[in-house]
Symmetry: C2
Subunit: 293 residues, 2 copies
């Protein structure tokens, strides 16, 4: 439904997200407190400005914000300003958050559908739109469908963010065509139980964040991932896993354990020879926010 | 921890269950209102009597109740009476329910662990012990771990129960060693979203009960399964799937639709040339019940 133009200036913001949460390959994600803000106002022609994370990306018509505008409006005659705290290409859903915020700022009726379509990750888009913990998938009609899931208020996440990004395409190409049936069943069982344990962390048990569907195949892209995950768990995290397609590593913690786990995470990065930092990130429960600018 | 003997007479009962619920192969199950009652009292030697479903099984020391006694007590010097409404070998978790009830009646500290170990299906055992909707898996220490999941109060189940049983061993042997990665991911995504939708049926969407991990491979064991599933969905079920390893078919319904769906189910069984019946079963929220006899 392309509109004739941007009717009025709007500003929208959306949180980062960590997808592929533990055994939840391509379906389980949590929104995290980093945020991208997108302001869209009517203009004679496309003009993109940016600050913060991702501001070094070319502000050409290929910019994701411009592609979202054309998808929503049928044209890109607007001035767009993007201000982001979300590191790009690090497995924190920066593009899904940007797409969702840009779609909402452009006046889209269904920013989730736009973001899922253009970014390709319904679970990241759902976390950015809905906030909190979500499960999402693509149904047979090719539409994304997402549900909110309860998340224990005591949950915090520690994220190890390497300076060097990883390409999502490379990570996708590392996946095999087939997997052992037992591995598929193992992820399913852990996903079901993990969803229950995320609602009440006292039900968490070691191993519930394990994955057999993507991490083992992507190991060569980030050889230190295994030791970082083990180190975070030894430092007191309930469990840890790749964040999205990496290279960030996310650890699920009780809030009271988050600071020591983050300190251990900094040490682990140094020990592994990886430039980057360890951040405590609390879940974002607000999701997409939109206002007239 | 074998005890010296059965200290006192106890009676325990546990509900049936439908496992492999939709995409939840080997992990998602719901307890259903059919029940097995097991009474155990001290005796000089093993004596088993039975009535109702399964009462035609040999009451020898190989009987599951006797195996449970020996596992719990270290001997089987007890009189056991089993009275069951749960059809045997039909994918309704009769053996997990019997094992859980027998373990509890024998005084086991952890009837779930006993039932999961002897029956081999932690999700059936968990549903029979906890009641309601559960996710369960086996952790790395070989112990079962289960969580309760919220289930919309409007949920009812229609179960088509063929007279002729299917062997679980045969069903297990039909599974492939490997499956497409995309199928594993598809079940995962549907499982996550289905869990959210079972808590609030207004979030249900067509296709959420689909499975790619066992039903397609077991089709030759029950060639009419596909048409029964489609027929139930056309009759107003939200979704339908094999119950456990079959041959029963279970349909998730809003309560108000359950009667017409069951009527259609009877028609479908007749049309497919399958002797059997269609039952409306409400979820059992009580799980395992134990009392001094």
């Amino acid at each position: 439904m392309p509109a004739a133009g941007v009717a009025r200036a709007r500003v929208a913001s959306a949180p980062a997200s960590s997808a592929n949460l533990g055994p939840g390959f391509d379906c389980l994600a949590v929104a995290l407190e980093l945020r991208v803000v997108v302001r869209v106002k009517p203009a004679e022609q496309l003009a993109i400005s940016a600050e913060g994370e991702g501001s070094d990306l070319p502000t050409t018509p290929d910019h994701l914000a411009a592609r979202v505008l054309r998808d929503v409006l049928g044209h890109d005659r607007a001035a767009v300003h993007v201000s982001s705290d979300i590191p790009v290409g690090r497995g924190l859903g920066s593009s899904a958050a940007l797409a969702a915020a840009a779609a909402a700022a452009a006046g889209a009726d269904d920013p989730l559908a736009v973001a899922a379509r253009l970014d390709g990750h319904p679970e990241n888009a759902a976390a950015s739109v809905v906030g909190g913990l979500v499960a999402a998938t693509t149904l047979d009609d090719d539409q994304p469908w997402a549900v909110s899931l309860p998340l224990d208020e005591r949950a915090a996440f520690v994220v190890l963010v390497p300076e060097q990004g990883l390409s999502t395409e490379q990570a996708r190409a590392a996946l095999p065509d087939e997997v052992p049936h037992g591995d598929a069943a193992r992820n399913l069982g852990r996903l079901g139980v993990l969803i229950g344990a995320l609602a009440d962390l006292s039900l968490f048990r070691p191993g519930l964040m394990d994955d057999r569907l993507h991490q083992p195949y992507r190991g060569s892209l980030m050889p230190q991932a295994g030791e970082l995950i083990r180190g975070l768990e030894e430092a007191g995290a309930l469990g840890a896993a790749w964040s999205g397609a990496g290279p960030s590593i996310v650890a699920l913690c009780l809030q009271e354990r988050a600071s020591p786990v983050a300190e251990a995470g900094s040490e682990l990065l140094r020990g592994a020879g990886i430039a980057g930092d360890a951040r405590v990130l609390t879940p974002d429960m607000r999701g997409l926010q939109v206002a007239e600018a």
